[in-house]
């Protein structure tokens, strides 16, 4: 089997599953209980938090656990809207965000907030100048993704940070769900960002767990009211087995990150260079440094993406149409739409997304199967 759909989800690492099982069996106390079982669970919770804080270069109190990327995005956006309502009602984001961001914005719009969607260029990236022009005295939040989930474009975070430094009171959220462990830590954890959200299952942790970095001193309203867990910001008994497992998964992910990133970049390039040579192929995530090392999006003209996915599946190779969230709903990719890609070709888009375990041999096998399928598709066309 060749699994090239790591942006949809990743396989939980065996060591991570092991931690999950051991914590479930041995440290099942409620971290809020006063007795020693609770105390142990609390200590493990905080040690996990400390490990994650150390790995991303944050302080202990700046790491908050969530149920995943969708919750993190909803929280950063709606939590800001609630906390900063009296200072303004204007929110800025991009046209290429994940639905968790986009639809949160749309919900707020219905509540009377004003939302500006920044346009993107042919590579799916916003411009810092557009952001600066969009900011108003009523702006309370800017939400930008680190890496686009459909085509792998890396937003110009350094330039955005420069703009945001001139507006220190506006909250800045980065959805970094696709950006962790991809050699982008310096851009993501810049000295200006206020909130960064992550999802565990995108880096070999279990489902249902994620975390948010919240800059010390920034105000956010809780979306989950209740028993006051997570420093009164996110109630609900902590999912300790998943939290500990995620702390471990993150350590494993970031161990030797540079070499892993380099390998993914090489694999991506090997496939990109191979398929680009075919006349009917259009590459959306080009061989440019503005694209992440692990995502490749392209289309074979005249063949629906779905057809290509199933054709590869017969060879035990798993890829995706643009994003898993929209792929079953027959809507064209919103990112490609925003890039003004013609609908005809956008419906043919497919996505390959790598992790640190993929190999060059897998890329070669993919290329071999691609040649075979391309000939078949040519007959159809």
């Amino acid at each position: 089997m060749i699994y090239f759909d790591n942006s949809a989800t990743t396989k939980a690492a065996p060591e991570v599953v092991d931690t999950y099982a051991k914590v479930s069996a041995n440290y099942w106390g409620n971290p809020s209980s006063l007795h020693k079982f609770g105390e142990q669970a609390f200590n493990l919770l905080e040690q996990s938090r400390q490990q994650i804080a150390d790995l991303v270069g944050a302080k202990l109190s700046e790491i908050l656990f969530t149920s995943g990327g969708t919750e993190g995005d909803n929280w950063a956006i709606k939590g800001t809207a609630m906390a900063k309502r009296e200072f303004g009602n204007h929110l800025i984001t991009t046209e290429v965000e994940h639905p968790a961001v986009h639809n949160s914005m749309e919900q707020l719009k219905q509540q009377g907030f004003e939302v500006t969607y920044l346009p993107v260029d042919e590579n799916g990236r916003v411009s810092a100048a557009d952001l600066r022009a969009a900011i108003k005295p009523t702006t309370i939040l800017v939400s930008t993704m680190a890496v686009n989930n459909e085509i792998g474009a890396v937003q110009p975070l350094d330039e955005i940070a420069d703009v945001m430094r001139d507006f220190p009171s506006i909250h800045w959220h980065i959805d970094a769900v696709q950006g962790i462990g991809k050699g982008l830590a310096d851009k993501i954890f810049n000295d200006r960002v206020d909130f960064v959200t992550f999802s565990g299952h995108k880096f070999h942790a279990p489902r249902g767990i994620g975390f948010m970095y919240k800059r010390q001193g920034r105000q956010i309203a809780p979306l989950m009211a209740g028993g006051g867990q997570e420093r009164n910001l996110r109630s609900g008994t902590e999912n300790l087995p998943a939290i500990a497992a995620m702390a471990k998964a993150l350590r494993l992910l970031l161990d030797g990150e540079d070499a892993k990133v380099k390998r993914q970049r090489e694999i991506r390039l090997a496939i990109l260079n191979h398929v680009a040579a075919f006349p009917n192929v259009t590459i959306f995530s080009k061989d440019l440094p503005v694209f992440a090392p692990h995502i490749l999006c392209f289309a074979i003209a005249g063949v629906r993406g779905e057809t290509v996915v199933h054709a590869f599946e017969e060879h035990d190779i798993y890829i995706s149409t643009t994003s898993a969230c929209s792929s079953k709903k027959h809507v064209e990719s919103s990112t490609l739409q925003a890039m003004k890609v013609d609908d005809g070709i956008a419906t043919s888009a497919i996505r390959i997304s790598l992790d640190e375990h993929n190999t060059m041999a897998e890329a070669e096998e993919f290329n071999r199967v691609f040649d075979e399928l391309y000939t078949q598709f040519e007959k159809l066309a």
Partner: protein, 405 residues
């Protein structure tokens, strides 16, 4: 960059005249203690500077430790080069490039101990300045407040180059300011007060009141963990836990409610004074900040302070809570301090303690209890432990968990 030594500049102590020798000796000891885990390292405390010869030790780990030693103004990691102009130039360029960002300015600062060296200070400044200008595109010279000051020291045994200066902790070396006893509750304030006490060179012993079962083992463990954190500034701290349950119960039984807190504080202070005297300490520090709570009004301070003539030093007296929290975050005690364990200050607090206790009444009510007998019993029950930096009390499973994570 592979550094060969770290040059440490003294803080205020350079101005201290005849005490200077003692200060330097103490700082040398403290630095040695702080760096004791590194093998093969040499510490030489000289009259104008202190030199740490690394002999291969990890320079960034050593510098991290030095940042926590009081009495250091700043320090510079430096590279030793042979007295060969080309070699000196090569390292100098690499060093400047490491810190250079577009728009930065620099200057060369040469000191020459070896008067036999073929170039004098002026010539070295010129040669090195030209070399940097030629090899680092975009850099410009600025004599006043440059971004980068490249120091070139021509000593007898080689040339030492350093390109950056790292801020030290300031203050005075712990131990040069005598010894005092610190009242450590485990809240946000007392660790910050401990930090300030040590920063002025005072060696402190911690006194912590322990009232089981009203306070938990966890509250005690938290106070010890905080001490372990603070021990990083002095190398080690004696932790004295004082059993306080019986005193609190007796006070609760005999003293009118409005004066519970005042009398209780007097007993704490009496015990602390007794301990300070036993240990030849010259003063008592605490984390009181004027007006913060009922026991910290001037009236309360007068009524409590009444039991002793020993100096009671309150480094946080005029700080706002937000300022105190800021320091607690900087010294990394805040997250520990806010752990929600009951401590002995909160548990017997009456709903409405007197903010302006009357001194005569306080004295009278204290007379309702057997002060001497209770104190003797408490002092007989004290437990003393030596706490080292990095000791672990709160999370006994840390190593087991580390395996899991």
């Amino acid at each position: 960059m592979e550094y060969s030594e770290i040059m440490v500049r003294y803080g205020e102590l350079s101005t201290k005249g005849k005490n200077k020798k003692d200060f330097i000796k103490q700082l040398g000891q403290n630095v040695r203690k702080a760096l004791s885990e590194f093998d093969g390292l040499e510490v030489k405390a000289q009259h104008d500077r202190l030199h740490v010869t690394l002999n291969g030790a990890d320079s960034s780990a050593v510098m991290e430790r030095l940042k926590g030693v009081f009495g250091i103004e700043n320090f510079s990691p430096s590279v030793k080069v042979d007295k060969d102009l080309d070699a000196i130039k090569e390292v100098a360029v690499a060093m400047v490039k490491e810190v250079f960002e577009p728009g930065m300015t620099f200057k060369i600062n040469t000191r020459r101990q070896d008067k036999e060296f073929e170039y004098d200070t002026y010539q070295m400044n010129n040669i090195m300045g030209d070399t940097i200008l030629d090899n680092v595109p975009g850099i410009t010279v600025q004599m006043k407040h440059p971004d980068i000051e490249l120091r070139v020291e021509v000593r007898m045994n080689g040339v030492y180059l350093s390109g950056k200066t790292i801020q030290g902790a300031g203050g005075l070396p712990v131990g040069t300011g005598g010894k005092a006893v610190m009242m450590l509750s485990g809240g946000i304030d007392s660790p910050v007060a401990s930090y300030y006490a040590m920063r002025r060179g005072v060696k402190i012993d911690m006194v912590h009141f322990f009232s089981p079962p009203y306070t938990s083992e966890q509250a005690l463990a938290k106070a010890k963990e905080l001490t372990a954190k603070l021990a990083g500034y002095s190398g080690g701290i004696q932790f004295i836990q004082v059993p306080f349950t019986k005193i609190q119960e007796t006070i609760k039984e005999k003293v009118p409610e409005g004066y519970l807190m005042t009398v209780q504080r007097r007993l704490m202070l009496r015990l602390t004074v007794a301990i300070a005297e036993m240990r030849h300490a010259k003063g008592i520090f605490n984390g009181e900040s004027l007006g913060q709570v009922a026991s910290q009004t001037l009236d309360s301070m007068q009524a409590i302070n009444d039991v002793t003539t020993m100096p009671i030093l309150r480094p946080l007296l005029s700080l706002d809570k937000t300022e105190i929290i800021k320091v607690a975050e900087d010294i990394d005690t805040y997250d520990l301090s806010i752990l929600p364990y009951e401590d002995c200050c909160t548990i017997f607090t009456p709903p409405s303690p007197k903010t302006r206790p009357d001194l005569e009444k306080t004295r009278k009510y204290e007379g309702y209890i057997d002060v001497e007998g209770l104190m003797k019993e408490a002092l007989d029950g004290i437990v003393i432990s030596e706490i080292r930096p990095g000791d672990n009390y709160l999370n006994q499973n840390e190593d087991v968990f580390a395996e899991l994570l």
